[in-house]
């Protein structure tokens, strides 16, 4: 079965085997999909050597959620991988659901994450209640973080840029399966399946309680052969530990797909999760934050800038409103990501001019004022700024396969690859700001005259107008899955060419009076 081969001590042996490892791992992934409940018995033997005893499980649970030092030597990373494999194997493949006492974490402050931030009796109590959320999030978060940094590190070593000793190279070269993509995806998908998370979310979406309704109630998307009478949440999914691990694994998948450059699948993964403040991930600040970062980033890479801006502003507004209450360690760690999101929103707004929320606009000017102005102005000078901001704010992209250690020159930093594709799109819109500033002044205009103003060939201007039009039409989410959407005009300026005559129109927004009126009314009364 699934984990018997790759979550246990046998991983070491597997690593030394042939190229077909990938296929072995892949087929175990598929086996899991076709898994028939009840044939757990045969996996017992494989896990035998690493049975986790009662005492050290607590340590392992705590260790799984503890950040690995950034500078940790390679050996620690290997060990950590093995630890995760053992732990997940234990959780997924024991005889029936595991009953765990979650680690009582020493510093409560790390886990206090309410908007009010006051550590009073109720918070402490609710912390106990919420502990599975935080713990589960930390485990998944750290698991993916280590995977990510391991792959990046391996790539750097293979490129021989930052040195990296021969010893390291050899170790990495000999162990291509450690932190393999298939095993990481395998863990995440298994956690989701074990907790029947997608089914549970489907039930919740329909307003049902997954612990009450049966599989037949949610009907439509069931695999054939599912036990229709079974409770949706299942034996595993009704336990907080499995439920939370399953839920956050979905967020984890979003992240992994994004790191691998599959932005479509990243967003598709969230099909069953509704993005709003009531969503479960919103209870853990870091999860809330991470989700929106990757959703926004994926939208940006799909050129759905309007949607990206919406995602980024949602979370940035949320952070700026709650920052005064969140003076704990968790908040410090997201400050960096916060700045990255400002960089990304600056890129998106420069490419797709949109009015931002006032507070965000102010912070944006404060953090990236100069760059933002340059990008908004467009032209060749701006390209460099786009590149800089993109590189400083993109996730650390990874390549799913181990690099070629024998040919350092053939290993390209995946970020460069993605940057190159992204910049092709950016380059295309460098004239847009100039064009817009002129068009705004007229209602009709002759093409040749305008071309003389901006000093380009009339035919170049004509194609640029087509480009402008084409880029202003974007797919924008209305409802349903995150990939859905209608094509809309995202620009406040529109035009049509009649021969050489440009007809220009503007979409004006009328003054908004009601809010002002109500606010003042509330003051006087």
């Amino acid at each position: 079965m699934l984990a018997s081969q790759n979550f246990t001590g046998t991983t070491r042996r597997l690593r030394e085997e042939s190229d077909t490892d990938d296929e072995v791992l892949a087929s175990t992934l598929v086996d899991e999909a076709l898994r028939d409940d009840g044939d757990y018995d045969d996996m017992e033997s494989a896990g035998g050597s690493l049975q986790i005893s009662g005492e050290n499980i607590q340590q392992r649970l705590a260790a799984a959620a503890t950040p690995l030092d950034f500078q940790a030597p390679l050996q620690n990373r290997f060990d950590s991988y093995d630890n995760y494999c053992t732990l997940f194997h234990f959780i997924l493949n024991s005889d029936g659901p595991v009953d765990l006492e979650l680690p009582t974490v020493g510093s409560l402050s790390h886990y206090v994450d309410t908007p009010t931030g006051q550590v009073d009796a109720t918070t402490v109590a609710s912390c106990g209640l919420n502990a599975p959320y935080y713990w589960a999030w930390d485990v998944i978060d750290e698991f993916i973080y280590q995977f990510n940094s391991f792959c990046s590190h391996r790539n750097v070593v293979a490129r021989k840029e930052a040195g990296g000793s021969e010893e390291e190279r050899k170790l990495l070269c000999d162990n291509p399966q450690t932190w393999g993509c298939y095993s990481v995806l395998n863990v995440l998908y298994s956690l989701i399946q074990r907790s029947q998370m997608n089914e549970q979310l489907a039930a919740i979406k329909k307003g049902q309680d997954p612990k009450q309704v049966t599989i037949s109630d949610i009907g439509d998307q069931m695999e054939p052969g599912a036990d229709l009478g079974a409770i949706v949440s299942g034996e595993y999914g009704s336990r907080p530990l499995y439920r939370m691990l399953g839920y956050f694994s979905i967020i984890g998948l979003l992240r992994v797909h994004c790191l691998l450059g599959d932005f479509t699948l990243a967003l598709k993964t969230l099909d069953d999760i509704e993005l709003n403040k009531k969503a479960v991930f919103a209870r853990v600040m870091a999860a809330h934050f991470t989700t929106y970062y990757y959703v926004g980033f994926s939208y940006m890479m799909m050129r759905r800038y309007a949607d990206a801006i919406k995602a980024f502003s949602h979370i940035l507004v949320y952070v700026s409103r709650t920052k005064n209450f969140q003076k704990n360690a968790q908040f410090d760690s997201i400050t960096k990501k916060n700045d990255q999101m400002y960089a990304l929103i600056a890129i998106c707004v420069a490419l797709c001019p949109t009015r931002l929320d006032d507070t965000i606009h102010a912070s944006l000017r404060e953090k990236y004022g100069e760059q933002f102005t340059k990008m908004q102005r467009g032209g060749p000078d701006a390209l460099q700024i786009y590149e800089q901001l993109f590189m400083s704010a993109c996730p650390k992209f990874i390549s799913p396969i181990p690099p070629d250690f024998d040919k350092p020159e053939s290993n390209i930093d995946p970020s460069q690859h993605h940057l190159q594709i992204f910049m092709a799109d950016v380059r295309n819109s460098m004239l847009a700001p100039t064009l817009k500033s002129y068009l705004k002044l007229y209602t009709t205009m002759d093409l040749n005259k305008l071309a003389a103003f901006i000093e380009v060939d009339p035919e170049v201007l004509r194609t640029q107008l087509l480009v402008y039009k084409q880029r202003s039409r974007q797919t924008r989410w209305i409802e349903g899955g995150l990939l859905e959407g209608d094509t809309v005009n995202t620009s406040d300026l529109d035009f049509a060419l009649q021969g050489d005559l440009i007809h220009i129109s503007e979409a004006k927004v009328g003054r908004r009076l009601v809010d002002w009126y109500l606010r003042n009314l509330a003051k006087t009364y």
């Binding site: 599959d262 890479m301 053939s410 690859h417 594709i421 092709a424 107008l465 039009k469 039409r473 005009n489």
Partner: protein, 233 residues
């Protein structure tokens, strides 16, 4: 982005919605499906992306020809972001200049075609396409490639033009004479009057000034009205 699933066969849907999408054994099924899309002029981006992902994970299974076919199909749905999304899933060294192997060269050639289309430089696009036999080899598997591209070009033109000179349009569509007349009148439904082609008004090319007004809902006044009842003046 086109998510039209109407032409997607059931067995493909089955693979896409299960973990079989990671199973290297499904590679051949997806490859056949790409072939089918090329022949039947259909397009299924999610299935093609899934195949590219399988190649990404299992480089030894990669078939260069299938990848270039996918890229060519993605060209036919420009200006959607599909072409770029496919590129993101290719090995990172596929876009390095100068190309490292014939496959990378093919990818770079297609990338340059895509950039010309995105930049609306249609005349250059057709010239580039004719400039090298390699291009002809790349697009040959994709039935009706030129016509599919032409239809897409026509739709971007219809977005921003009401009238356009015949000469210009001939260059953009790479058609002259009877072929031009029948395409413009038949496939596009536009009218030719002398030297000018007239494109009927549509939602995109009317360029009407609009004013978005505020939508006031009664609910917003709930509190004011409630208060008025609570504290009679």
């Amino acid at each position: 982005m086109t998510f039209d699933t109407s032409t997607r066969p059931e067995h493909i849907q089955g693979i896409l919605s299960s973990l079989d999408r990671y199973n290297p054994e499904t590679v051949t099924i997806f490859q056949d499906y790409v072939q089918q899309q090329c022949e039947n002029r259909t397009y299924d981006s999610l299935a093609n992306l899934a195949l590219l992902k399988l190649y990404q994970f299992n480089p030894h299974l990669t078939r260069d020809e299938t990848i270039t076919n996918i890229l060519v199909k993605a060209l036919t749905v420009f200006p959607s972001a599909d072409f770029g999304l496919c590129l993101h899933l290719l090995p990172a060294n596929a876009l390095t200049e100068p190309p490292i192997d014939p496959f990378a060269e093919a990818v770079l050639k297609l990338f340059s075609l895509s950039r010309l289309l995105e930049a609306c430089e249609y005349r250059d696009f057709w010239m580039t396409l004719d400039s090298d036999d390699l291009y002809a080899d790349l697009v040959t598997d994709c039935a009706g490639f030129e016509e599919l591209i032409r239809l897409r070009i026509a739709s971007t033109i219809a977005q921003s033009n009401r009238e356009i000179t015949r000469e210009l349009l001939e260059g953009w569509l790479n058609l002259v004479g009877d072929g031009f007349d029948s395409f413009v009148k038949g496939s596009c439904g536009w009218a030719i009057e002398g030297d000018v082609v007239k494109i009927p008004l549509n939602k995109e090319n009317e360029a009407k000034t609009t004013v978005t007004r505020e939508n006031v809902k009664f609910d917003q006044f709930q509190r004011v009205i409630k208060r008025a009842y609570e504290q009679p003046a």
